[in-house]
Amino acid sequence: MILLRLFWTFLTIGMVSFGGGYAMLPLFERMIVHEQGWLSASLFIDMIALSQVTPGPIAINSATFIGFQISGVLGALFSTIGVVFVPVILIGFASYYSEQFKESKIVKALFVGLRPALVGLIFSSVFSIARQSIIDLYGIGILGVVLFLLMKVKLHPILVIIVSGILGVIIYL
């Protein structure tokens, strides 16, 4: 039963996962953390960081991580297949009708609304994760360093994550 619930939850997420991993995070948080209670809020953020320092798409990584934690290897398998299930079927149709699909006015029209909505989705994730992660003034300091390293120094995200971890050890240990 738990396997089916994993499958169904990730299928629902996969069905509307437009625009890459980050735009999916509010949906993940809502369904995995709040509705199902499969991860705590802080573990959810740790998982995003883990997805960043390991290869592979964030949706696959998260589905595998959560599925494995809930129900072992089978759980990981059911969640991962669930998250790609609907998209893969759609891709099958799209590859058959690729010429019509490319020119489709309906698809273009959908994205008139979706594209800016993705921005809002990502920022709502920033807001809710910031509320969890920035626990004191030091946190704001770390965020300043992180943004400086990412935007000015253009340091690789993996290195930025490691630097922030080291700052965490220096400050919070």
Binding site: Y22, I48, L90, L114, G120, S125, I161, G168, I171
Partner: protein
């Protein structure tokens, strides 16, 4: 029926290379490599996929690659998986799709399970705990940067309005993100249709 037929015998010439057929093993290992060496999500994979499939092995033409990219981006799902399924399907039918998709997902699947198995033993350790307290802050920065980049591409009044509306609906009114995504898509449809009708109006 035609759809099923297409799955099993697709005309290879349609997507590019006309002489040699890619072996399933080669397809698997090409996508395995793509899955194993790209950090930072699907969009980081696109240049690697292009290098491997278009320039190195010449399995697909550049223009087909970009057409495929557009299709994969306009459907829901993980871009790397969408891509591998699409390419696998075109090159070797259903078997190709399965082989490519498993190849691209397998590295992260195994690595994440290995990490998950050890993660919970060490998360209680005070050093690891302090480390992750710092790491969590960097997640805020990373996602902020992704949002900021996307915002720059949507700098119209309409774009900022929809983004702000989406943000407010989720954060303040706690509307389910699923409902928001579906309704914003429909909203886009409605606006485009309205515009069309107005443009066709002779007055």
């Amino acid at each position: 029926m035609l759809f099923i037929q297409h799955f099993f015998c697709y005309d290879i010439n349609k997507i590019g290379r006309d002489s040699m057929q890619i072996s399933l093993t080669r397809l698997f290992f090409t996508f395995l490599k793509i899955g194993a060496f790209t950090f930072g999500g699907g969009y980081a994979m696109i240049p690697i996929i292009e290098r491997e499939l278009v320039y190195r092995y010449k399995y697909i033409k550049t223009e087909d690659f970009y057409d495929t990219l557009i299709i994969c981006q306009s459907l829901p799902g993980v871009i790397a998986i969408n891509f591998s399924v699409f390419i696998g399907l075109k090159l070797r039918g259903v078997r190709g799709a399965v082989v490519a998709a498993v190849g691209v997902a397998l590295p992260s699947f195994i690595i994440i399970m290995t990490i998950a198995a050890f993660f919970f033993q060490y998360i209680e350790n005070p050093i690891v705990e302090a480390f992750f307290k710092g790491v969590r802050v960097s997640v805020v920065g990373l996602i902020f940067l992704a949002g900021f980049k996307l915002l720059k591409q949507n700098r119209s009044y309409f774009g900022v309005f929809v983004a702000a509306l989406t943000f407010a609906l989720i954060v303040t009114f706690e509307v389910h993100p699923f409902i928001i995504i579906v309704s914003m898509g429909l909203f886009g449809l409605l606006i485009t249709k309205t515009k069309e009708v107005m443009n066709h109006d002779p007055s």
